[in-house]
């Protein structure tokens, strides 16, 4: 199968998990580039030009709270998962687990 097509399907799978990953990681306050690195280390490769607008969107939806930190010479905007965000993260996590066991049943492989 063509490489592009394979990549597209894999990206589709990953795309669905980025929001949940952000909500979980940002239980501890994090900022733009730092979050990018953390997600990459944990196996969620997201592009910068996807992540930054996503953070803003999640903040607008009330799932993240944001605060400017001016302690260092370079002011940074720190995000943190809000209460609503935590509730959604739990729901998404449940969905994920349900999907996981359903897929395992279908595929017959242990995760």
């Amino acid at each position: 199968m063509e490489n592009d097509a394979v990549e597209t399907h894999r990206q589709e799978l990953r795309r669905g998990t980025v929001v949940l990953a952000c909500l979980l990681v940002l239980d501890e306050p994090g900022y733009g580039y730092g979050l990018l690195e953390t997600l990459a280390e944990r196996g969620f490769s997201v592009e910068a030009n996807t992540l930054y607008p996503l953070l803003r969107r999640l903040e607008k939806q009330g799932l993240l709270t944001a605060e400017w930190n001016t302690d260092e010479s370079r002011p940074r905007k720190f995000y943190r998962t809000s209460d609503d965000g935590r509730v959604l993260a739990a729901t998404l996590m449940d969905d994920w687990k349900t999907l996981d066991s359903a897929l395992n049943e279908l595929g017959g492989q242990t995760s």
Binding site: Y33, G34, P53, R76
Partner: protein, 320 residues
């Protein structure tokens, strides 16, 4: 470190961001870029190289700005696209009709063939452009600003399912065709009979009565044949290639003699032309009238023939 590239990038992004959010996005974006660059420098990259890499990865600043502001980067979305296309095709009939009128008008006013063609093309192009522009603008506005209307317009239900392709539609196909044929037969019969006096002493026919010996019967026969074919088509229930071919022959059997008679000035009654010339002092009306009639016959016959083949194509029984 050369920050002008970064500053230019941030400025370019901000251009498409509403004033209220600019400061916040600017500060955050700048910090993110500088953080990325620092990380790459720490990994051993040259500062200028690091900056270029980071900005290149971020991509088109306009696109980034659109993502920041959640601006849809499309004119008409998939929800409305099909409807837009359908309306566009439907309204294209307007340029066609107006162009025909324009060409007919130019012909009547005695313009040269070149001028007629130029005028026709100009009209057709301009009108088509207008239709495309206004329809697209309306749909783009609805798509962008009225999701309710967009939802309604883009919805589909079973009612919209088209009839079996090529299925003969009695009301829209057979009836009009038969009616037109009968009307034309009547026109030919009456036109070839002297029943009106046109203000003179003797009644004069519009069509040269000499044509009764051959050509008028031929034309009437072609029209009658057309009506017969309409009933055959009604019986079969759809267009077929054979029917479309027969339609072509019958169409030619009418159009070719009719146009020839008109263009060679054999159609109109010479007595009538002479009479009108005596009354009004001119016969300049003859040529333009003939030309318009010929154009109309050619246009209608062509349309009819093409339509028949298109319907036959659509109605072809699927293999297997």
């Amino acid at each position: 470190m050369n920050t002008s590239l970064t500053e230019r990038y941030v400025a370019a992004t901000l251009q498409r961001v509403p004033a209220g959010q600019r400061d916040d996005i600017a500060a955050e974006l700048r910090a993110s870029i500088l953080d990325s660059v620092d990380a790459r420098i720490a990994a051993g990259l040259d500062p200028a190289e690091a900056e270029r890499e980071v900005l290149t990865e971020l991509g088109n600043p306009e696109r980034l700005a659109a993502d920041y502001t959640e601006r849809p980067l499309q004119l008409i979305g998939p929800r409305l696209y099909l409807q837009w296309w359908r309306v566009l095709k439907l309204l294209m009939i307007i340029p066609v009709i107006v162009t025909i009128i324009d060409v007919a008008g130019a012909a009547i006013s005695g313009a040269s063939v070149g001028a007629i063609i130029a005028s026709g093309l100009g009209t057709a192009f301009t009108l088509a452009l207008h239709v495309v522009f206004w329809v697209t603008l309306t749909f783009a506005l609805i798509d962008r600003y009225d999701p309710g209307e967009s939802e309604r317009l883009g919805s589909w239900d079973l009612e919209n399912l088209p009839e079996e392709p090529g299925r003969v539609d009695i009301g829209g196909d057979i009836v009009p065709n038969v009616v037109f044929s009968v009307v034309f037969i009547a026109v030919l019969v009456l036109g070839g009979s002297a029943f009106a006096t046109f203000g003179g002493d003797e009644p004069l026919a519009v069509i040269d009565p000499a044509l009764w010996s051959l050509w008028l019967p031929v034309l009437i026969a072609a029209l009658v044949l057309g009506v017969v074919m309409d009933f055959v088509r009604l019986a079969i229930g759809r267009w077929t290639w054979a029917l479309a071919g027969a339609n072509l022959l019958v169409g030619l059997a009418f159009a070719v003699p009719a146009c020839w008679l008109l263009l060679s000035h054999r159609f109109l009654n010479p007595d009538l032309i002479a009479h009108i010339e005596r009354e009004t002092g001119t016969d300049a009306w003859v040529s333009p009238t003939v030309l318009v009639t010929v154009i109309a016959i050619i246009a209608v016959t062509t349309w009819d023939v093409i339509e028949a083949f298109v319907k036959a194509h659509r109605a072809r029984v699927a293999p297997g």
